[in-house]
Symmetry: C2
Subunit: 281 residues, 2 copies
């Protein structure tokens, strides 16, 4: 019997399910944790979402997501800080200490990536005290470089750790999402570094499907369907001392079109065969 | 009057043109150099290609491409070495010292990226003496990480420089292709390092168009059409001491469907306004 105690279902995997449906699906199939997206939480209200999840006996592994910190105009900067403060409060109410940040890409028509990255660092600095006060860690998620222009100018784990460096590990962490980082030649050493610095806040597993989908955002696959060596990367994460939740977050139109217990069972099976054996050292 | 003496047209930009058509187009529009692909050279034969280009008063800036070094079986490994030896001889005959290598991705069904990268290093070591003997530099081209699985497990300039490190700078160089590296948080320092190590063998300019094309290979755009800051990157390349050819290599179905002098003039204009002013320090 496999141990699913660290498995978490990110709500984006069953995109068209309401929060209640995600909760019911996890309860039916024995998945003990949920990583909800804010839109699904907002539909029922944060307080009620927290109650529904906790009453079902489930945990919240993380909240997706804040971020989008690259606006250069005063109004955009203030709106980003406001929205992220709201996300921090939502995470606190949901009882998760981990708030994912997707830092944002280049503003429309702006090509100055160096300056945009500096704005991310500046906004992060503004958010840290508020997050710390509320017991929420800001989790920097490096995204695959193919999303650098429109989603995240944060592209590698090393870069995320550099960005986190000025702050305590309890205030700013990093996410390791296999889809985003599998290609990185520095992956092994940067995962080890993240472990040494106590910054691994989340491990997300999801395959990189080939060929890349026509909508590049939707190339995420169930573990085993793509090119990623989960044994190796999971082993590196385990060696780094990570013992937390392992979230499955998949954006894939075919998967979205067929949510259901069969999908969740497939995820459990792939997790049990491709991830779990290497998740503990 | 802009100085086009460093501008080179990579033959992939006018994909459906024969080598003769590329030569004629360059002569008509005053582009002094060509970076041919091997298939267009093979159509006329290497010796004759060399004569046609030189008789037209043009230079060869580089040859595209050798590589694909990741095969794990004996037959595949030997075939790769043979093919690359042939490419080295072709480069020598064409009179260019720079042979691009696209190192290859994961073999079908193979997920061990660490072992595949070691095979690239091993094959490179086997090729260096032959290349050196023929006065041809092997040019490692890091490709955008979205091509890691199927085209190149070499994804960053830093990784390319590490791979080149055991060999003299005259034997193994690196390419800086803006499309592939613009997102890299270490780009500035790695370009500077490449300069210090005398390894910059080619600077290719090409924009990163958004959204990514349905066929991810075809997202390359004319400078100015995408998200890349050519002034900044070109300045870094100039600061690194690079004074060689600047090749325009674009894979883009719309551009391929409309080759012609108008396209070449557009390339010249964009080069003159977006690249050239920063190409010399």
């Amino acid at each position: 019997m496999s141990d699913f105690s660290r498995l978490s279902l990110n709500s984006a995997t069953t995109k068209y399910w309401t929060l209640e449906q995600v909760i019911d699906g996890c309860v039916r199939t024995g998945i003990p944790a949920i990583g909800p997206w804010r839109d699904r939480v907002a539909e029922v209200g944060t307080e009620r979402a927290a109650k529904l999840i906790s009453n079902a006996g489930l945990r919240v592994s993380s909240l997706c997501r804040g971020g989008f910190l690259t606006a250069s105009d005063q109004e955009g900067r203030e709106a980003a800080v406001q929205d992220n403060r709201a996300a921090i409060l939502e995470a606190e109410i949901l009882g998760t200490g981990e708030l994912f940040l997707v830092v944002g890409g280049l503003p429309a028509g702006d090509r100055d990536i160096v300056a945009a990255r500096q704005r991310v660092a500046d906004r992060l600095g503004e958010l840290v005290p508020f997050a710390t006060e509320h017991g929420v860690r800001l989790v920097l998620e490096p995204l695959h470089p193919m999303y650098a222009a429109d989603r995240a100018l944060l592209s590698t784990l090393g870069q995320a750790l550099d960005l986190a460096a000025p702050y305590p590990a309890a205030a700013v962490g990093v996410a390791v999402d296999t889809f985003h980082v599998w290609w990185d030649p520095q992956l092994r050493e940067q995962i080890a570094r993240a472990g040494r610095e106590n910054r691994i806040a989340s491990y997300q597993v999801c395959d990189f499907n080939m060929p890349i989908a026509a909508d590049a955002l939707l190339s995420r696959g169930i573990m085993g369907d793509g090119v990623i060596d989960f044994a190796t990367i999971t082993g590196w994460v385990a060696d780094a001392g990570y013992t937390g939740d392992i979230e499955v977050e998949i954006f894939n139109q075919q998967i979205w079109d067929n949510p259901g217990d069969e999908l969740l069972e497939t995820i459990k099976n792939r997790y049990a065969s491709l991830v779990l054996p290497w998740a503990k050292r």
